[in-house]
């Protein structure tokens, strides 16, 4: 209980600091008024709009106004579109979360068998090949994988049509088909990293004294790995997976641009260049909560696997 309270306190403090930093950062780059009105507007129009958006007040006043709204559950209105931020984010958040979960599932699906296989057959030609491929794949950034996948499967093989995103409500099948490739592009580099980590983690465990004891009790390498080493080797992987989860959401920001997926990543990019502070603030808050929550889950899962970690 104490533990949860402490976590919650950290979360709230982080959110508070983050939200202020984001607000203050925008103070330096200016407001969206000129962009909304374009190059033909008069100075009076600019001043009038600034006043109607409340931008004529000092930074602290604006921030506190936003904060009180946020605390009472009101995310405010977008400066650019004059519609509630919650409405703009709602559906888009779903898209991004699905993309992240798909990427995460694919990572798990590929990396765990690959890692185990590599550790079991350490030194074999298959293991060595895997290591080389892993090393190469790790060096390729997700956005580049995205472009490759898009050109190959979209333009050459025509398995999907880049730029023709279909929402889940319209057609779940087409939606999932479209999301497979973006999910793959965020999964691929992470898969390589996870597999490599799992492999070396298992091999590290296999050097431990308790494995030697297991051998002396009649286990062979396979069964020692299965019954003793694997569980222990998973522990560092769990926390790595938590950071993978966090990073994937961030990765979506770039991938959504490339595949033109209307998720919060794309919304965030556009809103930053639009200086649409209420939208940016809301998304920053969501991202922060997400990061904290997945790390928290990582810790809980770790404890379930390892009784030693239970306080």
């Amino acid at each position: 209980m104490n533990f949860v309270l402490k976590k919650l306190g950290t979360l709230l403090l982080t959110l508070l600091i983050l939200s202020f930093v984001a607000y203050a950062a925008f103070e330096m780059v200016g407001d969206p008024v000129n962009m909304i009105l374009g190059t033909n507007a008069s100075a009076e129009d600019v001043a009038a709009l600034r006043e109607s958006l409340g931008l004529n007040h000092p930074l602290l006043v604006r921030y506190l106004r936003w904060l009180t709204g946020f605390l009472s559950g009101d995310l405010g209105n977008s400066y650019i579109y004059r519609i509630p931020v919650s409405g703009m984010i709602g559906e888009k958040l779903g898209v991004t979360v699905i993309l992240t979960l798909m990427g995460f599932a694919l990572t798990l699906l590929f990396s765990v068998p690959l890692g185990i296989y590599g550790a079991r057959r350490e030194g074999s030609w298959a293991d060595r090949l895997l290591t080389v491929v892993n090393q190469i794949v790790m060096a390729v950034p997700a956005f580049f994988v995205a472009i490759l996948l898009m050109v190959l499967f979209g333009v050459v093989l025509r398995l999907f049509t880049p730029g023709s995103f279909v929402s889940f409500a319209e057609s779940p099948g087409a939606f999932l088909l479209y999301m497979i490739f973006p999910a793959l592009s965020i999964a691929v580099p992470r898969t390589a990293m996870t597999a490599k980590m799992l492999r070396s983690s298992i091999l590290g465990e296999m050097q431990q004294d308790y494995i030697r004891t297991a051998y002396s009790r009649g286990h062979n390498r396979q069964s020692a790995l299965k019954t003793h080493a694997f569980r222990n080797a998973l522990l560092p992987i769990i926390s790595f997976m938590a950071s993978t989860m966090a990073e994937m959401l961030a990765g979506c920001i770039v991938i959504e641009q490339i595949f033109s997926i209307p998720g919060i990543g794309r919304l965030l990019m556009v809103s930053i260049s639009n200086r649409d502070i209420p939208v940016v603030e809301a998304i920053v808050m969501i991202l922060a909560v997400w990061v904290m929550v997945v790390h928290f889950i990582g810790e809980v899962v770790g404890e379930m696997l390892d009784p030693r970690m239970r306080a």
Binding site: A41, S42, R82, P113, T161, P162, G163, Q257, I258, R275
Partner: protein, 511 residues
């Protein structure tokens, strides 16, 4: 053992996924599962890719960005309407008369014109529209023109406008004052006009849908539906085109259209922009005319066009682009032929024999401007000017450069919101809020003043041409080019026409 083989299979699957690229030919390019192109053709509709979302408000008086105006041109109309040749044709009015003193315009309204919401247009709608535009327009130049209208009233089904000062450009502005129904209050989100297409829906940052207006007063649009899809990312836009998700994209660069498949044809027009190396005439050393002239001589526009656009684009010599046939002065194009020796001489004369440091700002979201700036910086280095290019975000450009005038030099392009010389020259008037370059010339101001009060068209044209020549003589900026505008459009589509202003007329496009 079972688990082991499972692991092996999974590993193999993963490797296959990764290396499938290498093989490529494991499956022949099977009939593409609907890029949707055929379905769209069958339904007589098209998808148009655009690079940015429309302005927040779609009201006819709040169309702040050029990208919004170009789309909404299909939805709204004025009493008169520009056509592809730049002439103004009767639209919601069938004709007009003007009194001898040039102060009273009487417009005869077209009968039976319907708005998209079914209402019939009346003189009251026109009066309402002019009043709303005069008070609310986001375009200060239109506001200024409408301030000049002292009275607007209905007279036996006609609309009579009284001007305080004669203005023979008035008709051009009439084309920009869109008519909307008087009793309608949802223009911001559900715009209603009289144009060949009516507004259907908008999904913020995703798409805008228009459909053919069946009760259009004139020749009806050919396509039944247009979806504008927004792609902020240039790579994504081109890939969407390659993959067949969109049927048409305008404002592309030569490098973007070169690799397109045979499914598309490429049309070349003009952007209708005055691209220049804009100079702050108010900072040292650019306040010295000899230095500005030296810059003009140092820049080799032909070479720049060659390097950035394979020679496409029209050279300018002043703040008028060629589509303004009436005012375009061919003789100014080569007023400053490329001459490095002369540039050095002028610099030495001005007291900078060893050149000086110059920062050129270029808005980072406009690749053509950035490319141009890069080439120019190199050309300036050849005469000893240490020019560096700094990319700047668009919003910062608007705030610091355009509004704040905190810059030395910048490469950008200005368009004309109306087909009037004033739209391109007005910004150089000493007192203009848009006078980004801080150009001060009593003579230039006098030319514009005289031109705006004179009714004789030939004389006016001469005055505007003289004003444009001032800009060249004083080397206010290094005027470069009107950029080539490439439109990629599905080969099965025809009927797209370029306009002398920044609009995208889709009413004549057909399969």
């Amino acid at each position: 053992m079972k688990k082991r083989s499972l692991a092996l299979i999974l590993a193999a699957v993963m490797l296959l996924t990764l290396t499938a690229c290498g093989g490529g030919g494991n499956k022949p390019t099977s009939p593409a599962p609907s890029t949707g192109a055929d379905a769209r053709k069958a339904a007589n509709e098209i998808n148009v890719g655009i690079a940015q979302d429309l302005s927040s408000s779609l009201s006819p008086y709040q169309l702040a960005t050029a990208g919004t105006r170009e789309v909404m041109f299909n939805v709204f109309e004025g009493l008169y309407k520009a056509d592809a040749t730049g002439d103004f044709k009767p639209a919601l009015a069938t004709g007009y008369t003007v009194s001898d003193d040039g102060l009273t315009y009487t417009f005869t309204l077209r009968e039976g014109v319907k708005f998209h919401n079914g209402a019939v247009m009346t003189a009251q709608d026109v009066i309402y529209s002019y009043r709303t535009c005069a008070s609310d327009s986001v375009d200060s130049s239109i506001k200024k023109i409408l301030e000049n209208v002292t009275d607007i009233k209905e007279d036996a089904g006609k609309v009579v406008m009284t001007l305080a000062q004669p203005n023979s450009d008035f008709l051009a502005y009439v084309g920009s004052v869109y008519i909307s129904p008087a009793a309608y209050t949802d223009q911001d989100t559900k715009p209603v006009g009289t144009g060949p297409f009516s507004f259907v829906s908008r999904t913020v940052q995703d798409n805008v849908v228009l459909s053919r207006f069946e009760d259009y007063w004139g020749e009806k649009a050919k396509l039944s539906r247009i979806t504008f899809k927004i792609f902020e990312n240039a790579t994504a836009l081109v890939t969407a085109l390659d993959a067949g998700a969109v049927d048409m994209v305008a404002h592309m660069s030569i490098s973007q259209v070169k690799g397109l498949s045979k499914d598309y044809q490429v049309l070349e027009g003009s952007m209708n922009l005055v691209q220049a190396l804009y100079l702050n005439n108010n900072v040292k050393p650019l306040n010295d005319i000899r230095v500005r002239r030296a810059l003009c001589y140092a820049v080799d526009v032909d070479k720049m066009l060659e390097l950035t656009a394979e020679g496409h684009g029209h050279k300018l010599g002043t703040s008028i682009y060629p589509a303004f046939k009436k005012y375009f002065d061919e003789s100014l194009v080569n007023a400053y032929p490329h001459d490095e020796a002369k540039a050095r001489e002028l610099l030495a004369e001005a007291g900078y024999p060893n050149g000086f440091d110059l920062t050129i700002l270029a808005p980072s979201n406009y690749t053509p401007h950035v490319d141009t700036a890069m080439v120019i910086a190199e050309q300036l280095k050849a005469v000893g000017i240490n020019a560096t290019v700094q990319e700047i975000e668009w919003n910062s450009w608007l705030t610091d450069v355009y509004q704040g005038r905190k810059f030395e030099a910048t490469v950008c392009g200005f368009d004309a919101s109306t087909l009037t010389a004033n739209a391109l020259l007005g910004r150089y008037e000493s007192t203009s809020a848009k006078n980004m370059c801080s150009y001060q010339s009593a003579q230039f101001d006098a030319f514009l003043q005289q031109a705006s009060s004179i009714t004789d068209d030939a004389k006016r044209t001469e005055l505007y041409k003289a004003a444009a020549k001032c800009l060249s003589d004083d080397a206010v900026n290094v005027y470069l080019q009107d950029l080539a505008d490439f439109v990629a459009i599905r080969s099965t589509l025809k009927g797209y026409e370029f306009y002398p202003i920044y609009v995208m007329d889709l009413s004549r496009v057909t399969y």
